[in-house]
């Protein structure tokens, strides 16, 4: 279902991917996110599941697919993290997938600079949803903005430019 190409709008490209590519990339992103945590704190600066969710939502430009992909990735991320209730990242990733696919259908997301800016904004949107959910439901004093988050957003955005260029290779030719 995730590999099924969508009908393109009159002016916006809708990209298709090879079979199993989306699932595989998402699985690898979750695996690496869990694996990289073992090697140091630098891994905390990256959020690979966020990047793949935003990328596939933005590229495929189908909000329904984007929100389901985000929900699936977020719930799996919750399941793999310790002490985090199931649904915390799920809600945030669902909204990121929806917003990413909505944006992808309206503006050009192929340029590296626009990708850098969009990922930077997406990171903080994701953090805002996460903090709000934690504050409202878990009664935790989660921060909306810190220097560490700013640094993480910059690193993630820069990493996203490279990662998205690599993932572009998984597209089926038009």
């Amino acid at each position: 279902m995730l590999n099924t190409g969508a009908q393109s709008d009159s002016q916006i490209e809708v990209h298709k991917y090879y079979a199993g590519a989306v699932i595989l990339v998402c699985f690898l992103a979750l695996l690496l996110q869990a694996f990289l945590h073992k090697f140091g704190h630098f891994a905390e600066l990256l959020d690979l599941p966020l990047l793949v969710t935003f990328y596939f939502g933005m590229s495929r430009r189908k909000p329904v697919s984007g929100l389901f992909l985000g929900a699936a990735v977020g719930i799996l991320q919750d399941a793999l993290s310790h002490g985090s209730p199931i649904g915390l990242y799920g809600i945030a990733k669902t909204l990121v997938g929806y917003v990413g696919s909505s944006i992808g259908g309206r503006i050009d997301t192929e340029h590296p600079v626009s990708r850098l800016v969009l990922v930077f904004l997406c990171f903080h949107f994701h953090q805002a949803v996460l903090a709000t959910t934690e504050r409202l439901l878990l009664n935790r004093a989660a921060p909306y903005f810190t220097l560490h988050l700013l640094l993480a957003s910059l690193v993630t955005a820069a990493f996203a430019v490279v990662l998205f260029a690599l993932l572009d290779r998984l597209r089926k030719p038009l």
């Binding site: 909000p63 329904v64 929100l67 389901f68 929900a71 977020g74 719930i75 209730p85 199931i86 649904g87 915390l88 799920g90 809600i91 669902t94 909204l95 929806y98 959910t133 439901l137 878990l138 009664n139």
Partner: protein
Amino acid sequence: MLDILSRHRTLSLLAGVVLAQMLLLAFQIKREHDVRLIRYWAAELVTPGERAATWSLSKTGSVWSGYIALHRARVENERLRAELDRLRIHNRELETQAGEGQRLRALLGLRDAHAEAPMLAAQVIGASADSSSHTLFINRGERDHVRRNMAVITPDGIVGKIVEVLANNTSQVLLLSDKDSGVGALFADTRTHGVLRGTGDPELHLEYVVNDEPVHPGEIILTSGDDRIFPKGLVIGTVTDAAPGNPFQVIHVRPAARLDRLEDVLILLSQHELVPQQAEESSDTGEANPATPGIVPPLPASPKTEPAASTGATLVGPKPTAKPAVRTSSATGQAASTPKPPATIRTPSTPSPAPKTPAPAAQPAPQQ
């Protein structure tokens, strides 16, 4: 609703997925007292509705019981009003009976206290139709051996005298307040004599008291026995006001007996003197005996007088009724040859003034 959902299918789906995950979160999260968040939410969701339902039900019940279902209340109200009226009447009857019982007990007490003096209880059955005439009708008459000029008293004080025996069971009483009424009187403290006259008003006038005699409001006035109707020592009333006059003082006296509220009275069948209970002890101390209402024992003898010649001797023990005037005259220092017959008391035109000279107690008592 379905139309809106289908029109905004994507947004509805997003909301559904987010909501489902929030519920999932709420199911996992525990708040205070180990209660899951979803339970809090469920309670928050349900309790306003329950509260509203309870409020509505309560208001509906209030409206029903307070307005619609009032037909029973009206019937009950009428029944309770009738019950209240019946109980009020019953209560009034009981109060009347209690008051009558108290009056009769007082009369009985007076009678028991003076068993030596023949008395007859009577009920007031009517009053004069003429407002200027202060008379009463009582339910005792010829059959009860009631005669004219017999004294009528209450435990509070004297009331008047029998003026007419109208039938076997009816007599007419002339009240103290009647203009034609007159009673021989004396001050309880100074033993100064005078004549008490009715005025047609509630207050009486004490006449024939010289201006030199000090009189103060509140002084008690007693019968002197000079009139040969009322035994000596019965309470008449108290002085309310005294002012110098020409040639005698003008003294107002308020009767001790409530002449306007009489219901039960006692008729003295003779002028037998009423001896206060424990008269001997009381005469020693000079204190009034509270157990004998309406009767004031005499003062102790003045140091200037011989004890037996003073008023104390006249009150101790019954004395023959044939000589009250002589005895009183002796006590007041008047000549024994000028007794005051009852007729002089009855008729104001022929009073027996018996003007009192000061300090009568200093006079010797020839009777002894």
